[in-house]
């Protein structure tokens, strides 16, 4: 099974994402901010990170830049999942090495479609 790290400071979002992704046959780990996510990656590098943008301590974009600097561009696949829904944020994320981008609110269909596009399903 593939491992997905769900990074979001909202417990509710983490729970919803976990439920959807477990149904899609992913193992799940959770992190509450970018720094927590970096620590989780250092312990066990996931196949994919579902990544919120706005979080305390370290935001999603900083995490993305740090993990790409450390691990390169292949792994993990990074899928942003954020309420930031304007083109400039989307461009910024893709330029920093995100593989896909989900604009909240999301549902199972969107997660499934996006994970399929990046070749995880």
């Amino acid at each position: 099974m593939k491992l997905c790290l769900v990074v979001d400071d909202s417990k509710v979002i983490r729970k919803v994402a976990r439920r959807i992704l477990e149904e899609l046959n992913f193992d799940i780990e959770e992190a509450v901010d970018g720094q927590d996510a970096l620590d989780a990656c250092a312990r066990n590098l996931p196949d994919v990170v579902l990544l919120d943008w706005n979080m305390p301590v370290m935001d999603g974009l900083e995490f993305l830049k740090a993990i790409r600097a450390k691990e390169g561009i292949e792994q993990p696949v990074v899928v942003f999942c954020t309420t930031e829904n304007d083109m400039s944020h989307i461009r910024m994320a893709i330029e920093a090495g995100a593989n896909e981008y989900i604009m909240k609110p999301f549902d199972r269909e969107i997660i499934e479609a996006k994970f399929t596009q990046v070749g995880l399903i």
Binding site: N85, M87, I94, I102, A113, K114, Q117
Partner: protein, 279 residues
Amino acid sequence: MNNQDFEFLAKLLKEKSGLTLTPDKVYLLESRLTPLARKRGLDTLDALVQKLRTSRDEGLVKDVTEAMTTNESFFFRDNTPFDIFKNHVLPAMEKARPNKKLRIWCAAASTGQEPYSLAILLKENWAKWQGWNIEIVGTDICTQVLEKAKAGAYSQFEVQRGLPIQMLIKYFKQEGDVWRINEDIRRMVSYRPFNLLSSFSLLGSFDVIYCRNVLIYFDQPTKKDVLERMHSALAKDGTLFLGAAETVLGITDKLRPVRGQRGMYVSTDGNAEELMGLK
């Protein structure tokens, strides 16, 4: 709803759109036509049926037909028919059309996601198609959905179902809450209202036809009729795409499935498979 009313509506829909309504679909009539009845100032579905029986209100008949057709659509829906288009159909057509003319028909274009997905795939390799005359025709029985298709404006939900983010960045502009497909993509598709029960002769002939998730609503003789007329409208080396739950098998022998390519059909008397390197 009583039996007579059901029979009446079923017959009307069959005549007007080819849609076959089985008695287990009564709930669909109720859920889709009750809001229409209210909009028309009628209290109940029974009143709507009465009105249809007693008046020759063609506008109302049209509204009923449109309300009963299903218009769900996504960009790159089911992926495979678009992968085949990109990897097999386009390379074959590039070789087989020295006159550089390509005509594509989306026979159930709905809100435009299918024709625009094809337009995007062409645009991705645009240098190759310079000097070509490429026409994508999108038709649908429902004029309401075609208005939306022409506008090319989609909600945040719609652009996230099937459309890779890179393509959203490249081919769409954000206008407040909606995402509008770029003018150059929009101009590649022409839309017109069209009923599949009517003659295809005015549409001309096509190299590629997409007719997905329509035949499932038709009975066997209607399926056969539509498929055989599509075969006539299709170039000998052309391709037809049907929905995942649809087939030509047992309906007509003028078309045959291409082995290993789900949803793809070619003329039995043509050479499309060789052309595409699929034989």
